[in-house]
Amino acid sequence: MSSPGPLSLLAACLLPVLGAFAVDSARVGLWGVGVELVALGWLARDPRRSVKLLAFGILAAISIFVSTYLYGGRHLDESAAAALRIVYIVLPAALLTPVIQPAELGDHLAQRLHLPSRPVVAAVVALQRIESIGEQWRQVQQARRARGLGPDNGVVRRFTGLASTAFAVLVVSMRHTASTAVAMDARGFAAATQRTWAGPAPWGWSDSIVLGLGIGLSLFPWFLFPWFF
């Protein structure tokens, strides 16, 4: 079986959001997250990035749990449900977004969903730029360290250092964006109202299965869970 394309993966990221509204107890939430893990876990390809993304989600969930518990009348079950609702939304995105390639997503959005090609190209290049911001951050940090402006003397220096690195990366990115716009136009993008796509956009069995799983996860907390138990 071929691996699923970006559209079904994107759908499987977004659909569970609908299901999250029905997570009203810790029991539903725990079952839901468990089912999600089984249903989508086999699709993950980049465990390190998934764990990183999930960590952000869990941080958010913990803060929701604490604040709901403290200010919402100290109901353990209700607070846990609120936290698990977040995890139910974040988990599919953490598992699947690292699998989606910007170029493939562009191919599918334009050829299968027939979205207008110029915004799609712009979005794909922007996604690709986000990847390169990490590299730019590293370069700017290296340069600042070599110049004696690195963030390593005390908490305050560290914080201001972080801020100025971020600012420098912002400036470099914006300058790059202008050059990138020139480079894209110089390669015919300015005139391209119609364009072709170097990659195909097939929809296979695996896509239908992943889409089905996404729909299932959007329904599970509403109907399937009450039906099973």
Binding site: P102, E131, A146, G150, P151, A183, D185, R195, A198
Partner: protein, 498 residues
């Protein structure tokens, strides 16, 4: 920037455009592509016509390769990046991949089309950008220093590819270059843009070269047959290494240890992971089992093809990268004090400690900018390591003024570093690395984009710092610079000592 420039180029002509650093060559090229208003600020008057139509109204017929190749990367893999222009021209998929494979073969690109663009070196990215321009088969092709980051043999491969892909199509070609020699037998016309943005010479290359030889040399053009200029040395007092605090108080002077190694790398390996989405990726061994040392009063000249690991080695010696295995150690007396002992590993040093000892000129000059004016830029490190205050201010200012003057940047003192030309930005990074008086000077391609005069200034500054007692490490494909500095050669091949 440019004043009263009028040029008429017949179809199929191959034009070489030369002139001093900062004369406006890149600006003229962007204007010719009809893309001046996309990225530049300022006023533009006049017009650019292609077959009688405003060039801005006929996009796609003019291809432009920009000076900074990194900004031109639009895709995650080599193949998709080259394919970008063909997609815009609505070429069918089979044909796209046929032509992508064709141009990658024609430019002898060393990697398959699935290779991540993030894993390419500076020179390789430049070759990728060229492939992406050539593949379009545009009527007019504008190339801004297309071989500036390439070693001699890669540059030859690239020039041959340009020739093969353009001659049979009758492509009109404009190439901006400092070094005219290798392009001469291929060009029909030589246009020289002088300081102040005016055309000072125009005609058949051999005639212009015969008639205007001295004008060209004085405008900084690398006239073929003329030997490299003498390095323009600067007063050694303004580039000598600044004594480190603990030694002046204990009386240990650095001047006593002539010729000694100040940084030694032994058996180092550096691995890098280039990621693609979906967990796919390539592990690259950038350096493997490399020994190198920086000696006081000497220059280490690191050469090798693009992608051979030159930049990585320079970054390791500059204390910016921790090697995956092997040791990088500084001389005993140079390490900063940690409790009772000295820390010998530069990558462990704090930023200010590192900056006081070793300086680095990055290959991508723009990412090194830390200030909003040229003067603040060259003062930044002195201020950060505490040499910009009290009694040191006058001395630091004197050094800054002299170095800016020599490198031809005095008139830009209050300008924003981002508004400088590519060559000026690179000289600014060299100035910023010298003013605070580091003991080791690591430079990554410092002579790219320099005309004869500015080249002599850059090499002269390095030579003077070296005779004043600094150790230099230079990664470059510019063999004339390596020779002029009488450097100890170290040639890398695929991350190993060749």
């Amino acid at each position: 920037m440019l004043t009263q420039v009028s040029l008429s180029i017949p179809a199929g002509q191959r034009v070489l455009l030369a002139g001093p650093s900062g004369a406006g060559k890149s600006t003229l090229l962007r204007a010719m592509a009809g893309l001046l208003l996309t990225a530049d600020q300022g006023d533009f008057s006049g017009q650019v016509l292609l077959d009688g139509d405003d060039v801005a109204e006929t996009p796609g017929r003019v291809g432009l390769l920009q000076q900074d190749p990194l900004a031109g990367v639009v895709a995650e893999t080599v193949g998709r990046d080259v394919a970008f222009g063909l997609e815009n021209l609505s070429v069918q998929r089979d044909e796209i991949w046929r032509r992508v494979a064709g141009v990658l073969a024609a430019t002898a690109f060393p990697y398959p089309s699935g290779h991540p663009t993030a894993a390419l070196s500076g020179g390789e990215t430049q070759r990728l950008a060229l492939a992406g321009s050539l593949v379009l088969g545009a009527e007019v092709l504008l190339l801004d220093e297309p071989t500036s980051m390439l070693d001699v043999s890669s540059a030859q491969v690239v020039r041959d590819a340009v020739r093969r892909e353009t001659v049979h199509r009758g492509t009109t070609l404009v190439v901006v270059e400092h070094h005219l020699g290798p392009w001469l037998d291929f060009a029909d016309r030589l246009v020289v843009l002088g300081r102040g943005g005016r055309i000072v010479a125009d005609g058949r290359p051999d005639e212009v070269l015969r008639r205007e030889r001295t004008t060209l040399a004085s405008e900084g053009v690398w006239v073929p047959g003329l030997p490299a200029p003498e390095p323009n040395r600067i007063d050694e007092g303004v580039v000598e290494p600044w004594p480190l605090e603990p030694f002046t108080s204990t009386g240990v002077r650095l001047g006593n240890t002539g010729g000694a190694a100040i940084v030694t790398a032994s058996g180092i390996q550096v691995r890098r992971q280039a990621h693609l989405t979906g967990g796919r990726g390539t592990q690259i061994i950038a350096l493997d089992d490399v020994d190198a040392a920086l000696h006081r009063g000497r220059t280490l000249g690191v050469t090798g093809a693009s992608g051979s690991g030159k930049s990585t080695l320079i970054a390791v010696l500059a204390g910016l990268l921790e090697p995956n295995s092997g040791d990088v150690m500084c001389a005993e007396h140079l390490g900063p004090l940690r409790r009772r002992r000295r820390e010998p590993r530069p990558w462990k040093w704090r930023s200010a400690e590192l900056a006081a000892r070793l300086a680095w000129v990055p290959q991508m000059a723009e990412s090194g900018v830390v200030s909003s004016t040229v003067f603040d830029e060259v003062m930044a490190t002195s201020r950060a390591v505490g040499r910009g205050e009290g009694s040191d201010v006058a001395r630091t200012h004197r050094r800054a003024d002299a170095i800016l003057e020599t490198l031809g940047l005095s008139h830009l003192r209050d300008a924003s570093p981002y508004h400088l030309s590519g060559g000026e930005q690179r000289r600014l990074m060299v100035a910023a690395a010298l003013v605070h008086g580091p003991h080791g000077l690591l430079l990554d391609e410092p002579t790219v984009g320099q005309d004869r005069a500015t080249w002599a200034a850059v090499v002269g500054c390095i030579a003077s710092a070296q005779s004043a007692g600094a150790a230099a490490g230079l990664a470059s494909h510019d063999l004339e610079a390596v020779t002029a500095l009488d450097a100890d050669p170290l040639r890398l091949e695929h991350g190993r000592i060749g």
